[in-house]
């Protein structure tokens, strides 16, 4: 098992005919993901060729694509101006799992989209925006993660689930586990924007329930209070062992560190506060990604 997506997940790519959508959509397809269609308004009927042979059909709307392919997941790779409408179109067409990698969506739009989904489409889950996506190694890869850095899970385990707020640190976490030969059940990049569709707690709940996940790595960063809230949830609900790393121990106050969400102010959202909260919840906290990997290796050995 894996969380959110697996080998049966049928995926469409909104923006398949664009630069990013085509590059990553085809890479996801080559990884073995069931990429069953693309959506670009006005370009329906123009198939996108797969280099190894065959092609992916393109539709004018998500509704058409869903009707023709039975897709349940969508990968959105469109510019910020078009992203909000693309997310809502996918939800309206009945897509259950949406991955949006778009960076630079205005916060006002993001907040509106989030609350619209909660109210009108409670059965739709949005991952992102501004996230690297999700990979269940060997089964399904939606987004921009390089599949080869993900260690396949083993049938007998133990396997690790990864949840991360930062893109490149998601890869770093995958890589740390690969170096140590530790299998990954699913790796979820939730993204660094202020209003993520899926948060740490959503992923922790799924990992806790997933019989193929035996331990969890969580990668956080400064800003907001998502890690502190996750710590509360862990204390009450997560029995699987965890290690964690929080980026930004040395970040100066009041400066946005690249991600719109990564900023500390008024002594809130600091790495120290987050690390303390996680440690108090029984999570083993590393001072850098490698240390978090070492701690996970110790945990795995003890299982």
């Amino acid at each position: 098992m894996a969380i959110f997506v697996n080998e049966h997940t049928k995926v469409i790519v909104q923006g398949l005919t664009g630069g990013q959508g085509k590059y990553h959509g085809l890479r996801n397809q080559a990884y073995g993901t069931q990429v069953v269609g693309g959506v670009t308004p006005g370009k329906g009927g123009t198939d996108v060729a797969i280099p190894e042979g065959g092609s992916i059909p393109v539709f004018n709307s998500v509704a058409e694509a869903v009707a023709a392919t039975g897709a349940t997941a969508s990968f959105i790779a469109v510019p910020p101006k078009a992203a909000s409408a693309a997310i809502l179109e996918a939800a309206a067409a009945g897509i259950a799992f949406i991955v949006c990698i778009t960076e630079g969506i205005p916060a006002q739009d993001e907040a509106k989209v989030y609350n619209t989904l909660v109210r009108d489409y409670p059965n739709t889950r949005l991952l992102g925006p501004n996230c690297p996506g999700i990979i269940s190694p060997g089964k399904c890869n939606i987004g921009i993660t390089a599949g080869e850095i993900a260690q396949l899970p083993t049938a007998s385990g133990p396997n690790v689930g990864i949840v991360s707020r930062s893109g490149t640190l998601t890869y770093q976490a995958l890589y740390e586990l690969k170096q140590r030969g530790i299998g990954v059940s699913t790796c979820v990049g939730i993204g660094g924007d202020p209003v993520p569709g899926t948060n740490f707690i959503d992923c922790l709940r799924e990992f806790q329930a997933d019989p193929e996940t035996h331990a969890i790595i969580m990668i956080g960063e400064i800003g907001g209070s998502a890690e502190e809230e996750a710590a509360e949830f862990i204390k009450a609900n997560v029995t699987k062992p965890m290690s964690a790393y929080i980026a930004g121990v040395t970040a100066p106050e009041g400066k946005k560190m690249g991600h719109a969400g990564a900023i500390t102010s008024g002594g809130k959202g600091t790495a120290k506060g987050k690390m303390d909260a996680l440690a108090a919840a029984g999570v083993r906290v590393g001072l850098n990604p490698t240390e978090a990997g070492d701690l996970m290796a110790e945990i795995i050995k003890s299982l």
């Binding site: 006002q108 907040a111 921009i144 770093q172 660094g192 560190m257």
Partner: protein, 384 residues
């Protein structure tokens, strides 16, 4: 992007939020002209993005042109907590009966808009929050529904705004909400929001922070961008579209991705070094961007070593390597590079670097983030 008070007031005016008549002055003469236009008495206010202007002598009352001359002369050029005062805002002095507080921001935990309203304005809201939390009304607003006039009025009543000011404040709240949402603000704050003896209500200060992601639909922000206070390094980085923040240390840092860049700062710090900057070249960085990033780092005289930390996802190792080789051919770097290159096409990238004929005194490759950090810090600290 944070606005100066005068820009915030200009922004407010677009949304019909009443502010005092006034103008900005870069010179004493301009300040006097602004005062004549606004009508005496006037307040001369230093325009810096830092609190405590009044205590530092950056806000003065003036009854005539001579006093404006005196105060503007003192304030322009003043240093307030490390901020150089380049301009003053001169506005008609208001009679104040009461001072309130109002702000909108995004509550990330609740994922909704948050109105903070208090009848105790004119002081730091953080202080009120600690000493008298009941004096602040917090109201969550669903971004889909927005704010109705009735809800705004109800909030004003609950905040114990004086009866005579309730209608004015409620009207102000609706307008400020429009400014916050349609104006794409991360923060829109009025402190103080004043009640005048004549019963009128208006914004005596303006703190506005704009969401850079929304810049594409606000061409009018261009004039604000022109006055943003960046140090020279930050200015140079901006022209190349790089996410750069200047710091005070000696290890120049280039990484792809905000998280990895933050993490690189942390690791450098852990092994006894100090970072000269935060620089995220972003996903999909190519040779040109790497060359530009090295150019920005090279501009910083404090840099003693350069740590390039790349984990390729979209970013491809060979592109990074090409950029480094190209940059080293173009400019004489002031410090040696220590690089850690992993991920997509990393081996190809390492081969390009190894075959470029660059001596080890200028470029060192390390297999892990930690080892690379140690090497870069050793060079920067002179302990290698």
């Amino acid at each position: 992007m944070d606005l100066f008070e005068y820009q915030g007031k200009q922004y407010f005016a677009r949304f019909d939020i009443p502010v005092s008549p006034g103008d900005v002055g870069y010179t004493v003469d301009e300040a006097v002209a602004a005062a004549e236009m606004a009508g005496y008495p006037v307040v001369v206010k230093a325009q810096v993005q830092v609190g405590g202007r009044g205590k530092a002598g950056g806000i003065k009352l003036a009854d005539n042109a001579d006093e404006v001359r005196l105060h503007a002369g003192n304030i322009i050029g003043m240093d307030i907590k490390g901020h150089h005062v380049k301009r003053v805002w001169v506005e008609h002095a208001s009679d104040i009966k009461k001072e309130y507080y109002a702000s909108y921001s995004l509550d990330r935990a609740a994922k909704q808009h948050l109105l903070m309203l208090s009848a105790e304005g004119g002081v730091e809201i953080e202080t009120v929050a600690v000493e008298n939390p009941d004096a602040i009304v917090l109201l969550h607003i669903d971004p889909v529904d927005g704010l109705s006039a009735a809800t705004a009025r109800d909030a004003a009543v609950r905040a114990k705004i004086d009866d005579e000011a309730v209608d004015g404040v409620a009207d102000m709240l609706v307008k400020l909400y429009r400014c916050f949402t349609e104006g794409d603000c991360d923060l829109a704050e009025i402190n103080p929001l004043i009640l005048r003896p004549d019963g009128g209500v208006h914004a005596l200060d303006a703190k506005v922070s704009l969401d850079n992601n929304a810049g594409f639909r606000h061409p009018e922000w261009e004039e604000f961008r022109a006055t943003e206070e960046l140090d020279e390094r930050e200015q140079l980085a901006r022209t190349h579209d790089l996410q750069y923040i200047g710091l005070d240390g000696t290890v120049g840092i280039i990484a792809n991705g905000a998280g990895l860049a933050m993490s690189t700062l942390d690791v450098v710090n852990q092994v006894g070094g100090t970072a000269a900057n935060f620089l995220d070249i972003g996903g999909g960085a190519n040779a040109d961007m790497m060359a530009a990033a090295l150019g920005v780092i090279n501009f910083d005289e404090n840099v003693k070593s350069i740590f390039i930390n790349i984990f390729g996802g979209i970013t491809r190792g060979e592109e990074v390597a090409k950029g480094i080789v190209e940059a080293m051919g173009r400019v004489e770097l002031r410090a040696p590079i220590v690089i850690r290159l992993d991920g997509t096409n990393a081996e190809e990238g390492r081969a390009i670097l190894a075959n470029a004929g660059i001596p080890e005194s200028k470029l060192i490759s390390k297999p892990t983030m930690l080892e690379a950090a140690r090497a870069a810090v050793a060079i920067a600290n002179g302990t290698n």
